[in-house]
């Protein structure tokens, strides 16, 4: 079909729709004037018109949402493989990831100890203002020295990757203690008392946590509570 024929088809299609259904056959005879192909076209278009054109009623929002999720996944897939060297740290495994970046178990090759290495998202690292604020907070938090606060060892940068090296705590989250282990209330209260002590110290130093929750409180193998992630919880928006 040529564009001209299609234009004519469009005109006839609209013309047929104006005609009462019981008179359409006669109208089609007249306009197609023996052109069986044209008549078939019009008839099949009329039939299609009777049905709901379901597809065009449904905006492609689900496709867009899926795509945006996928872009997120692509970002997540760019994780650092084991044995990647960052400054004096060597990546062992991924501990977790969230809006603030990925946290890896890594080994400090100089001091031969395990650390939790948090890698900042590239978009945060690229923003000078955010980085300045982040460094201020991390520096303040690094000065905190308390048995119930996970220690920040250093913040640094290596080949464009910004990281925070933190004390690695071998244990379970408070969430696991509550829900999985069903720890007795007395024990939970002991943990929370320790958390409160840690918070008191931090607040006295003018530092707030911003994201305190059972996932951010670790219970060590020796049964001590430690607050994670001080100084790195500024929302990035």
């Amino acid at each position: 079909m040529t564009p001209q024929q299609y234009e004519r088809l469009t005109e006839l299609f609209h013309a047929v729709l104006e005609i009462a259904p019981d008179q359409r056959a006669a109208f089609l005879d007249q306009v197609s004037d023996g052109d069986a192909g044209l008549r078939r076209e019009l008839e099949s278009l009329l039939a299609a018109h009777e049905q709901r054109a379901a597809y065009t009623e449904k905006p492609p929002d689900d496709i867009a949402a899926g795509m945006f999720l996928a872009q997120h996944d692509i970002g997540a897939a760019a994780s650092l493989p084991p044995n990647t060297r960052i400054d004096r740290y060597e990546i062992r495994s991924l501990l977790g990831k969230g809006g603030m970046g990925e946290v890896y178990l890594a080994e400090d090759l100089r001091l031969h100890r395990k650390v939790a290495l948090k890698i900042l998202p590239a978009e945060v690292a690229a923003d000078r203002d955010r980085m300045r604020r982040f460094e201020q907070e991390a520096t303040a938090a690094a000065a905190l020295n308390h048995p119930h606060i996970a220690h920040i060892y250093e913040i640094g940068e290596s080949e464009g990757i910004h990281f925070i090296a933190m004390e690695h705590i071998d244990g379970d989250t408070l969430r696991d203690k509550i829900h999985r282990d069903k720890a007795p209330l007395q024990k939970l209260l002991k943990y929370l008392t320790q958390v409160a002590e840690g918070l008191t110290k931090a607040h006295a130093a003018g530092i707030v946590h911003r994201d305190l929750k059972p996932d951010n409180i670790m219970i060590t193998r020796d049964d001590y509570a430690k607050i994670l992630d001080f100084g790195s919880n500024r929302r990035w928006h």
Binding site: F13, L45, A47, Y55, A64, M67, F68, L69, Q71
Partner: protein, 190 residues
């Protein structure tokens, strides 16, 4: 020159008949939509409340200077954005459609797989192919579909972009929908 300024100026130029302005606008808007998509993803509850129309509207608010928001500029901006949105979504759907389990393709999250099944992706790709066929028959009708379907433009906005009457837009839309529906229906079902 700030982005908002250049976008506004390009829209003005296009308004005054400068077709090259359109070629410069497209990549700017395309990039902005991509960036916004990324930002949506860093939110708490990605995707679920997303609307392509709302996304384009937000891009417009971000990219066009406040006091320059004439109706014509708005319509033209949405016109380009609709085209960019079509490319972005169809590219994605094509990639999603051919994604194979364990075939070295990137992993797909359960959430993403639930939202966009391979069938749904195939549906959009088929729709895009049919739209390309329609374009050979009537460029204007295919543009009407692009603007209304991918850009969420109203009949009036579509008419402004295409410089035709709203009545023409409605007739084009009706015919195009019918033609596409027939093209996408398995043979013998219509």
């Amino acid at each position: 020159m700030s982005d908002a300024h250049s976008v506004t100026q390009l829209l003005e130029q296009w308004n005054h008949g400068d077709r090259e302005a359109l070629d410069k606008l497209m990549p700017l808007i395309y990039e902005e939509l991509r960036k916004m998509a990324k930002r949506y993803m860093s939110g708490q509850n990605p995707g679920h409340t997303l609307q392509t129309t709302a996304l384009i509207h937000e891009a417009y608010l971000r990219m066009v200077k406040q006091k320059e928001k004439h109706f014509e500029n708005r319509a033209h901006f949405f016109g380009v954005a609709a085209q960019a949105m079509r490319h972005i979504l169809v590219d994605y759907a094509r990639a999603r459609q051919t994604a194979r389990r364990g075939g070295g393709a990137r992993p797909i999250s359960l959430e993403e797989a639930a939202l966009v099944t391979q069938e749904r992706a195939a549906e959009l790709v088929a729709f895009d192919d049919a739209l390309k066929e329609l374009e050979k028959l009537s460029k204007r009708q295919s543009r009407v579909v692009e603007l209304r379907y991918f850009g969420g433009l109203s009949v009036e906005e579509t008419a402004t972009v295409l410089e035709v009457s709203p009545d023409t837009v409605m007739r084009d839309w009706s015919m195009a929908k019918t033609w596409l529906h027939r093209a996408l229906s398995p043979a013998g079902e219509v």
